[in-house]
Structure formats: C-alpha cells, structure tokens
C-alpha cells in the first residue's frame, strides 16, 4: 500500500536506485537525439541533391525573376539591393529584449545564459 501513496517523484526516486532504470533513462534522451540527427542527415542530403539535380539555376543572381525585380529601368526594386525601396520594405530594426530576461532572473528564474 505504501507504494500507492508515493508521489510520482518519490516513485521515480524509488525506481532510481535500480541500476537498470538509471541506464535506461539516460539513454532515452541520447536515443531521441541520435534518432533526430539521423533524420536530419537524411533530409539535408535530399536538399543538396535537389540543389544539384532538380534546380536548373543555382545562383540567386541568375534567377530571371530576381533580375526582373532589380532591373535598373523597369524593376520594382530598380535602385538595387539595399537601395531606397529595399530599405523601406525588406530591411528592419531589432529590439533590445534584455529587460524581460533581467526581470525573470530577478524573480529567481535561472536561465542557461
């Protein structure tokens, strides 16, 4: 009956003394991560295969639609990359968000950095 009243934490602790469980639990995170990275390698390989074999044009500056949008006479972005219109539509500014991190830390939350 005692076991049934244990909190989950107590339960885990009770289990933790068994070497078998300790090993399994450590391996699970590692296993999940290894599985994920294996999947990543396969997806990455397909990306480079498509780049080499499916896409006819392989440099951004050679994309005909890129050349059209930056066309010096009629292009929508005729003043070129980093030009006036680009600056307005395609560039941005960033915001210092460190205050909310400081506030969290002062509440006693420990973060990794």
């Amino acid at each position: 009956m005692k076991a049934m009243k244990m909190s989950r934490r107590g339960f885990m602790k009770a289990c933790g003394i068994m070497a078998g469980y300790a090993v399994l639990s450590v391996n699970m995170t590692k296993e999940v991560f290894a599985a994920a990275m294996n999947m990543v390698g396969m997806r990455q390989k397909q990306v480079y295969d498509a780049d080499a074999h499916i896409y006819k044009v392989r440099k951004s500056q050679d994309n005909p639609m890129v050349q059209k949008i930056y066309d010096k006479k009629h292009g929508f972005l005729h003043d070129g990359p980093c030009g006036h219109k680009s600056h307005h539509l395609l560039h941005t500014e960033y915001k210092d968000r460190s205050a909310s991190i400081k506030a969290l830390k002062s509440k006693g939350v420990t973060l990794s950095m």
Binding site: V32, R43, D51, R58, N63, I101, M113
Partner: protein, 419 residues
C-alpha cells in the same frame, strides 16, 4: 485542442496581440512523464521542473525562443502548440472576396512528403505547389523566391561591410544572418549589444509578405486589402515573427497567418486531396521562381553557401564555375571555414546551429576574438529541415515505445518488494 500529425494544437488565431505574451509551445502537465528530454534540448533553460513530480513547463514566454525543439523531441508527445490559424485559413480559402496567397519555405518541401508515407527528406516541391492550388490558394507564390532576394540584399550588405570596414558609419563585422526568428529573439534577449552585427535584412518570409502586398498586388491587379498572405513554415518561431508589430511595411499586416508543415499536411488530408497522385506543378510567376541557392536555405550552412555563390562573383569579378562550396555544409554544431576568393583574399566564415552553440560564437564576438566576416546561425540543430514545425520523426516516438517498456518494468520492479 486537436491533434495534427501527432502534435496537439490549440485553435487560437491571435490578431493584434503582443507575441511576447503568448506561449507558442507549452507542456501538457497531464501527459508529461518527467523524462527531462525537453529540458535537455532547450538552449535557454526556458523549460523547467515546476513541481515535486518533476513535471516540466515553459516558465515564461520571454525565456522561450519558440524554436519548438522541445516539442519535436518529446517522446511522449506531451508538448503542444499554442497558436493555429488552420480554421481561419479554411474560412479564407472559401471566401470568394479574399485573395489567398501561399508562401511556403524551402524546408517544407523536404518534410511534407513524410506525412504521406514518402521516405525521410523526399523532395515534394512540385506536388506541394499542386496541393496548394487544389486547396484553393489564389496565388502560389514561394518563399524560395525571396530566399534569392535575401541573398541579393544580405550579400550586398555583407560586401558593403567588408569593403568599408573601419570607416565611420559602417556596421561592424562579423555580420550575422537574420533568417531565423529563434536566433533573432535570442540575440535580442541575451546579447542586445551584438544587434549592430545582425544583418538588417528581414528573413525571406519577412520580405515576401510586403512584396506580395505591393509588387505582387501591382503585377496581378489585386487590392492589397483583399490579400491574405499565408506563411507556411517548418517552424514554430515563424508564428512569432509573423506577429511582430513592425511587420507592416506594406501598409497592411505583411503576414496574415503562419502555419507549419504539419498543419499543411493536415489541411491537405482534411480537404480529401490525394497528395501522392498529384502532378508536379510550378509556382505562379513574379514571386515564385527560385534557384538551388534558395532551396539550400533549409539546411545549416545553406544561407552561407548561397551568399558565397554571390559574394565570390562580386568580389572577384569572375564567374564561379562550380557552385558547390562543400566546406560550409554542416550537419550539426559549429563549423568554421576559409574561402579563398581571387582578387580579394580569404573570406572567413562560420556556420552554427543550436542555441547553445550560438552562445559560444556570441561570447567570441563580444570578447573581440571573432575572426569571421560572416556567421550563419540557425536555432534548430541542422537547420530548418529539423525545425519545430516539421513532421515528427517516427524514431523519436519509437523511443517512447522502448521507454514505455522501461516504465512497465520499472513499475513491476518497484512493486515487487511490496508483494
């Protein structure tokens, strides 16, 4: 709450809400088994033990960069998404007065097929375009086009910083990429003093939204007000990015909705579309066409390689005969490389994925010890192909099966002494 490709979603489509107040991912405490995998993969320490049962939760939205790595790695499927525009999008697709525009990211086409039984990573770009058309999107525009535009903008910015280095009014080197909203929030939160190093370029989706509602509207004769732009991403953090208040340079909200690969697969299935029998189709003109340089944005090292394909030609004045720049291709972690460019010298670059790795490079730059011209950073290990919005790797949940056996054994063993 509903299950979408094995992940739970709240049907919450916020408008005009401060994205900093939203939990884009959160742990369902009823499903959490206290294994701690999420805490281990989280780069910032945002996900923590909250009670004596060692149940985890994201403690505050400010600490979470919305990368979703905890979610895709949880073996119990206990982590849910807090925002989903799927219902609203279905409504907009039905509405004859709304011109719905698709904007899918590069990495989506290397994950979507998996939801329909294709082997891991299968390229389904053509079928994806066909499926979007079948779903009723009016213009099939493609975020890969603006990946190419990003290279033009960000490459030009980099060349400017390199050529004018040290001159007054020039932004500093190294230049960091700015495509990944997980990384951008990270640097804004933890290293604001490095912000001048971050490229001023918006991400590809940050560029396609406003271009759709200006240039795209012009070219197609559409009223920008009638347009509903849908960002389709391998990502959770892109939902946050789409909601950033400043993303309204077109005069409207630049991005009306953001969904991810899993949600797109769900919509295709829900609409009864037989994905595997679809033909390969092209995107629509003006904002659709793309290159190999754009598609590699989906993997760690891709933005770097694409930028170098431009920088090499501009700096050297010569044609780059072989576009493969394999030294920057990075499976995981950090990679540094020297790229020799004729008539210029050596371009020094670093590629990095995962936020704890990003932290190391940030410290280096702060200490004035960073030798690089250009640094690419992605929050997700391996880049967006491994994004928080991608289909769940069956092997991650397979380890759940193993862990369930472990748990059963554990319970059995724990009871034994009592018996």
């Amino acid at each position: 709450m509903r299950s979408i490709e094995g992940v739970m979603y709240q049907g919450n489509a916020p408008k005009g809400v401060d994205p900093d107040s939203i939990f884009f991912v959160q742990v369902d405490t009823d499903k959490c088994e206290a294994c701690g995998t999420c805490e281990e993969v989280c780069g910032t320490g945002a996900i923590k033990v909250i009670n004596d049962d060692e149940i985890r939760q994201v403690v505050d939205p400010a600490a979470c960069m919305n990368c979703g790595q905890c979610l895709v790695n949880c073996p119990y499927g206990a982590i849910y998404e807090g925002v989903s525009y799927v219902d609203e999008l279905f409504e907009k697709l039905k509405d004859p007065d709304t011109v719905v525009v698709s904007m899918p990211a590069p990495a989506v086409r290397y994950g979507l097929g998996e939801c329909f039984g294709a082997p891991t990573g299968t390229y389904v770009g053509g079928k994806m375009h066909a499926a979007l058309r079948k779903l009723g999107f009016d213009y099939i525009w493609d975020n890969e086009f603006t990946a190419d535009v990003t290279i033009m903008e960000e490459g030009t910015e980099l060349i400017g910083r390199v050529k004018n280095a040290g001159k007054e009014g020039t932004l500093p080197l190294p230049q960091f990429t700015s495509c990944c909203p997980g990384w951008v929030k990270f640097v804004e939160s933890f290293h604001p003093e490095l912000l001048p190093h971050v490229s001023t370029c918006k991400s590809p989706i940050g560029m396609l939204g406003p271009l759709a509602k200006t240039y795209g509207a012009q070219e197609t004769g559409t009223k920008p007000k009638k347009m509903y732009t849908v960002s389709i991403m391998p990502c959770v953090a892109k939902k946050y990015e789409g909601m950033r208040p400043e993303m309204d340079d077109s005069g409207q909200r630049d991005i009306d909705a953001t969904i991810n690969t899993r949600e797109l697969a769900y919509m295709i299935k829900k609409a009864g579309i037989n994905f595997n029998s679809l033909p390969d189709e092209d995107p629509d003109p003006v904002l659709g066409e793309s290159t190999g340089a754009a598609t590699i944005f989906g993997t760690s090292g891709g933005v770097m390689e694409a930028a170098l394909r431009l920088a090499y030609e501009v700096l050297s004045g010569q044609k780059l005969n072989d576009p493969d720049i394999k030294v920057v291709r990075t499976h995981e972690g950090i990679r540094a490389a020297d790229v020799k460019v004729p008539n210029f010298g050596t371009v020094k670059v670093a590629v990095c994925s995962g936020l704890s790795n990003a932290q190391k490079l940030c410290e280096e730059v702060k200490a004035g010890k960073s030798p690089y011209h250009f640094i690419e950073i992605m929050a997700c290990p391996g880049g967006c192909v491994n994004g928080g919005g991608q289909p769940i790797d069956p092997d991650v949940r397979a380890s759940l099966f193993r862990s369930m056996i472990a748990k059963v054994n554990r319970r059995y063993n724990a009871r034994k002494p009592e018996a």
